[in-house]
């Protein structure tokens, strides 16, 4: 879901110089307890993902046939699933998939969004109109239907999930970047750079880009959470990560059917998703407030 006016607000240009902008933002972020909680969650998550093999007591795809469907206990902290796999280990390893999905998919969105945003905002004219109408269509089309359509064309698989989620997210980044460019484009220092003979590429990468990063960082952070949720939704529909890869979305989707008889199976992957998304959302909120305290 796009928060359009927030995007527009984010694009309003700051008067601070760049380094002080980031320094001030960090100072404000540090004082924001919720944002620090979010940051802590994200950092812990990354650590878990990196050190998954050290933390997980079992191989996440190894079955212990005799121990299927056990409730949480000493041997298996979070219990086991129907095939006798340790849910705790799967949740630990699942952090890798979630981070991959979040970061790679959003990365794709950012790259596509920046490219079209630059094209649209910097050159204007026909390309601007065409790109912005295209963005409108992407905003208009139900996100999940779009993801399904793309997954159907591309076929299942984790790389295709990155692509599907990535493609669908570009429009907001394009809008943010375009807005930034429009507000910066005619500033004196750009004129000066142009007068000194800088070409378009140089102006975009050296001058416009660094100055419009703040809103993009904020929005990207929030979108990581969205991507993780979309992955779960696709898994619920059977289009997600293919087994036996331990993905939280897949684990949640598979175990939801047993919600009335084995609630622990869905509880832990579900909580993992909620906490992780919460981490990114809180961090994103905090970053937004930090970059632009007016908006709070």
């Amino acid at each position: 879901m796009e928060n359009i006016s927030e995007i527009d607000e984010l694009t309003t240009e700051k008067k601070y110089s760049r380094s002080s902008l980031y320094k001030d933002a960090w100072r404000r972020l540090r004082r924001n307890k919720l944002a620090m909680l979010g940051l802590a969650i994200v950092i812990i998550l990354i650590l878990i993902a990196i050190f998954a093999p050290l933390i997980a007591p079992y191989d996440p795809i190894e079955r212990i046939k005799k121990d299927s469907s056990l409730s949480p206990g000493k041997a298996y902290f979070f219990g086991t699933d129907l095939l006798g796999r340790d849910i705790f280990s799967r949740v630990i390893y699942g952090s890798r998939i979630s981070i991959e999905v979040g970061i790679v998919a959003v990365g794709i969105s950012v790259v596509i969004g920046l490219f079209f945003g630059a094209l649209s905002g910097y050159f204007g004219g026909i390309s601007d109109i065409a790109i912005m109408r295209m963005a409108d269509i992407f905003f208009a089309f139900p996100y999940i239907l779009g993801a399904i359509a793309i997954m159907t064309v591309l076929g299942p698989g984790i790389v295709n999930i990155f692509i599907a989620i990535g493609i669908l997210g570009w429009a907001s980044f394009a809008r943010i970047f375009r807005g930034s460019i429009l507000s910066i484009k005619n500033k004196e220092y750009i004129e000066a750079a142009r007068a000194l003979g800088a070409n378009n590429y140089r102006i975009i990468t050296k001058h416009i880009f660094p100055n419009s990063m703040a809103p993009i960082i904020v929005y990207a952070t929030m979108n990581v959470g969205v991507a993780i949720i979309v992955e779960a939704a696709l898994s619920f529909l059977g289009l997600g990560v293919q087994p036996p890869t331990p993905s939280w979305g897949k684990m949640l989707a598979e175990s939801l059917d047993y919600i009335d008889i084995a609630p622990w199976m869905m509880l832990f992957p579900g909580l993992a998703i909620v906490i992780t998304v919460l981490g990114f959302v809180l961090l994103g909120d905090g970053l937004r407030d930090a970059f632009d305290p007016k908006l709070k």
């Binding site: 879901m1 939704a233 998703i273």
Partner: protein
Amino acid sequence: MFFYIIKRILQVIPVIIGVTLILFLLMYVIPEDPARLILQKGATEEALQNLRVKMGIDKPLYVQYWRYMTQLAKGDLGTSYRYRRPVDSILADHYPNSIKLAIAAILIEIIIGLVAGIISAVKKYSFWDILVTVSTTLAVCIPVFWLGMMMQVVFGLKLGWLPMSGMGDGSLRYYILPAVTLASVSTAFVARMTRSSMLEVMSNDYITTAYAKGLSQFKVIGKHALKNALIPVVTLIGLDLGALMGGAILTETVFSWPGVGRTIYLAILQRDAPVVIGGTLVLVLIFVFINLIVDVTYAWLDPRIRYEKKEVNV
């Protein structure tokens, strides 16, 4: 205003062309032979070829597209490959259900989202503000289908308060769980946006003026602040109505709701091109239409926007 609306309606035409074209290409990319899909078992190559000719799918894509568009102009959306029923009858079966559910969800968004946002803004930093902030943040983090199934088990099965699935006799009780599920994320967004919009509006001079006149806080907020604060919220809600209709796949799946989102979703999986294209087209039209209504609502909310003047001046 009249010319503006006419203009906007005419603008729909390129959108229709664009969307159908994209969908046509998409369905063409998927390597699928509709004739085989229809005949499937026991079909000879001749029978397949006959059917292809009959359906016109032996022709190049542009011929097929032209054929589809001319039929569309006559109001014919074609026949479903899978269900062998006219697409319009399939859509007529499902769209009203989706619209009803979307409206129920929008009502929740408006009632709960607006009220929560307003309370949160007016009682900034109070217990209620924190409660709203926490619950809206959480609502965004919980996967919709998880929330839906938990409510199903808790309110439907364990407590027995509400029906768990389907539309039943169509009474309000059947709407509550799916509508709440469907509206959860959007309600959170509406509440957050109302809050920030209200806070911004509340800092305006005319709010001070209103207080200085001797208006009660209730009236200042209800009359002077709300109408101004609603402007961005209306956009959000308007955009959402379209998204709620086609994007309700998860909710429709969890609650076995006979809606159009699931119909299109299944049609995509089943490569049932006529249903996909027809269903999506209607969805886009509704979206465009709602946008128009949102714009007209703006004029009502904000007298500074008057479309006919814009048309004359520009």
